[in-house]
């Protein structure tokens, strides 16, 4: 059992809005060891990307952060911007959803990869360029040597995502955060890119935090997963356990809403009624109560805590209360 790589404890984030502070993360806690793969799943606005941005220190201006984020023993929430820059990119790499917007259209890709190397590893231009080539070969970009001076628009979506992955890996990070890395890609390319991420993570023994709204991707790619809803972790545990039990009504709802090959033509999918609650709305009880099909009177009065369903598998639901 290796050391703890990342420990997030009671992470709360409030964002300033015209109507006051909006709590977008309401006490997120989890831990990862080196080599762990952890998935975050949930719908838009549930806090998946906010968690990733908080880890990277890239939250919107004016955000209030409380709680603790420790990476390899170092507390990140208290670091100033200059100190955080030493960690971001060097110890944590991030792969974004949309490779076209994550890359600068005006710079050749070789130079964009080299930027991090020069900044964090103090390489000279020549060494950085050689290293950028090695990275492009590592992410299996075809004709990497020719492509060093190519611009993002000259590459396909899958190739661009490979470049973004090369940038994230440039400084040999301990933690790779991938925020919906394949949502913008075709299914076959999606599989290739996810396979590549799997290989690289296994080879380097990095931790992988994979954010996705796709249950299928989760089932195949991560050993542990957290289900998020309205800024809370509502269920978490080993992926196979979570899928085998689907303890939280929200997890069940997500699962039932998913079209699957083999359903008869014309089947109506089960939907989750209502919508994600407004973060500004006061919530005395469970955040899911208004959409829940098994809610009880008690659910609207007191927020449930995480109850243990089985070893390492927790569920934030009064129905799971022993």
């Amino acid at each position: 059992m290796s050391e703890v790589l990342l420990e997030v404890k009671d992470l709360r984030v409030n964002l300033p809005t015209a109507r006051g502070w909006a709590p977008v993360l309401r006490g997120v806690s989890f831990a990862m060891r080196r080599g762990d793969t952890l998935g975050l799943i949930g719908e838009s606005g549930c806090g998946k990307s906010m968690t990733a941005l908080a880890l990277m220190g890239l939250l919107p201006e004016g955000a209030q952060v409380t709680g603790s984020i420790r990476l390899a023993g170092q507390e990140l929430t208290t670091l100033d911007e200059a100190a955080l820059c030493q960690w971001r990119g060097r110890r944590m790499g991030m792969v974004f959803q949309e490779p076209m917007t994550a890359l600068n259209p005006l710079h050749p890709i070789g130079r964009q990869i080299a930027e991090g190397l020069r900044l964090h590893r103090h390489m000279d231009a020549r060494a950085a360029r050689a290293e950028a080539l090695r990275l492009l070969e590592r992410v299996q970009l075809p004709q990497a040597a020719k492509r060093l001076d190519a611009y993002p628009h000259q590459l396909s979506g899958g190739q661009r995502q490979r470049v973004v992955i090369a940038m994230a890996l440039a400084c040999g990070p301990d933690l790779l955060i991938a925020d919906e890395p394949t949502t913008a890609l075709d299914v076959t390319i999606q599989r290739e890119v996810l396979d590549l991420i799997d290989e690289l993570v296994a080879a380097d023994g990095m931790g992988l935090l994979l954010i996705s709204h796709d249950l299928g991707v989760m089932s195949e790619r991560v050993r542990h997963m957290l289900v998020m809803y309205a800024g809370d972790v509502v269920e978490g545990g080993p992926t196979h356990e979570v899928f085998a039990r689907l303890s939280h009504p929200y997890t069940r709802g997500l699962f039932a809403a998913r079209p699957r090959i083999g359903l008869p033509r014309g089947t109506r999918l089960t939907t989750i009624p209502g919508r994600v609650p407004d973060p500004m709305e006061p919530r005395p009880g469970c955040s899911f109560v208004q959409r829940c099909d098994v809610a009880m009177a008690h659910c609207g009065q007191e927020p449930p805590s995480l109850f243990s369903v089985s070893a390492g598998h927790d569920c934030r639901c009064w129905r799971a209360c022993p």
């Binding site: 719908e43 838009s44 979506g157 075709d186 299914v187 076959t188 390319i189 999606q190 599989r191 996810l194 709204h213 796709d214 249950l215 299928g216 991707v217 989760m218 089932s219 195949e220 790619r221 992926t239 196979h240 899928f243 085998a244 039990r245 689907l246 303890s247 069940r252 709802g253 997500l254 699962f255 039932a256 809403a257 998913r258 079209p259 699957r260 090959i261 083999g262 359903l263 008869p264 033509r265 014309g266 089947t267 109506r268 999918l269 089960t270 939907t271 989750i272 919508r275 098994v294 009880m296 008690h298 369903v309 009064w318 129905r319 799971a320 209360c321 022993p322």
Partner: protein, 291 residues
């Protein structure tokens, strides 16, 4: 002219269509290179049914949609809508035919004008196509909004007041208002969350039952196509490589490309660790009495 047709007559017939695009010249002395976006594509869509088009980016899905919408003309071949050859029509005739084909786009954030009210957006096709009066426009807009599960009170609102799923409903309402024969839906749910996607897919199927709309449904998601389509064609590099009923085609794909597409769908198969039936997944602790 619709009255004379038998109910089962095909709404859309694509007959041996090719579409070639010219790329920018590489040299002054050479002819500009060409790309064959569609290569002898033929398909027939029966009234009230759904035809799914699957394939990767660059396979020609969107080119096919543009040709069917009569936004472009095929290089060769013909497209018939309700038996009318679209390429033989004049611009004025085409304008009236366009009422019968509507489109729903992928991105509900990009496809609605943020500065126009829902009424203006939804009723616009009516104003352009038929010169329908204001009160009639309002009435029909109310009807279609209600058909997609929104309220008449939403007519004066602006797109930013709605969620992604609601916006896609508005886009569908705009497509429905001309009472079209055919709706071309280009990745209508791929930008939506799972639960919202389920709502929109259910809605599209309900509307088909209710109004008998025909869908040309473009998607890269094979499980979505399997759910809503009666027929599916698989496009690769502009050619149809396989076609048939989704149930048979997906359970027994013949072409290597279809096999590859199917193999790439994450966790969509019975062999995946995701349980196929919810009944199996009931947690024992859920049955225990409440605290």
């Amino acid at each position: 002219m619709l009255e004379g047709l038998p109910v089962s007559a095909p709404v859309l017939v694509v007959q041996d269509v090719c579409k070639e695009y010219r790329l920018p010249r590489e040299s002054l002395w050479k002819p500009s290179p060409r790309i064959q976006a569609l290569d002898h594509v033929s398909l027939t869509v029966q009234a009230g049914s759904s035809m799914g088009i699957v394939g990767e980016s660059g396979s020609g899905k969107s080119t096919l949609a543009r040709l069917v919408m009569a936004l472009e003309r095929p290089t060769s071949g013909k497209i018939f809508l309700d038996g009318q050859d679209l390429s033989a029509l004049s611009a004025a005739e085409l304008r009236s035919v366009r009422a019968k084909i509507q489109m729903v786009f992928q991105d509900p954030y990009g496809s609605l004008d943020p500065r126009r009210t829902i009424l203006q957006t939804v009723a616009e096709p009516l104003a352009i196509l038929h010169g329908v009066g204001r009160s009639e426009q309002r009435l029909r807009a109310t009807q279609v909004l209600e058909a997609v599960g929104l309220r008449a009170g939403d007519l004066e609102k602006y797109p930013h007041e709605f969620s992604g799923g609601q916006r896609q409903r508005i886009a569908i309402a705009r497509a429905l208002i001309t009472r079209p024969r055919l709706i071309v839906a280009d990745e209508p749910v791929s930008a939506l969350d799972v639960s919202v996607q389920a709502q929109v897919l259910n809605l599209m199927q309900d509307l088909q039952d209710q109004f008998g709309v025909t869908y040309l449904f473009i998607s890269h998601d094979l499980s979505v196509i399997d759910l809503v389509c009666d027929q599916v064609v698989v496009l690769q590099a502009g050619c149809i490589v396989e076609q048939g009923e989704p149930d048979t085609l997906f359970s027994n794909p013949q072409h290597p490309y279809t096999k590859r597409l199917l193999a790439a769908v994450p966790g969509a198969h019975a062999s995946s660790p995701i349980p196929m039936s919810l009944g199996l997944a009931q947690n024992a602790s859920l049955d225990s009495p409440s605290p």
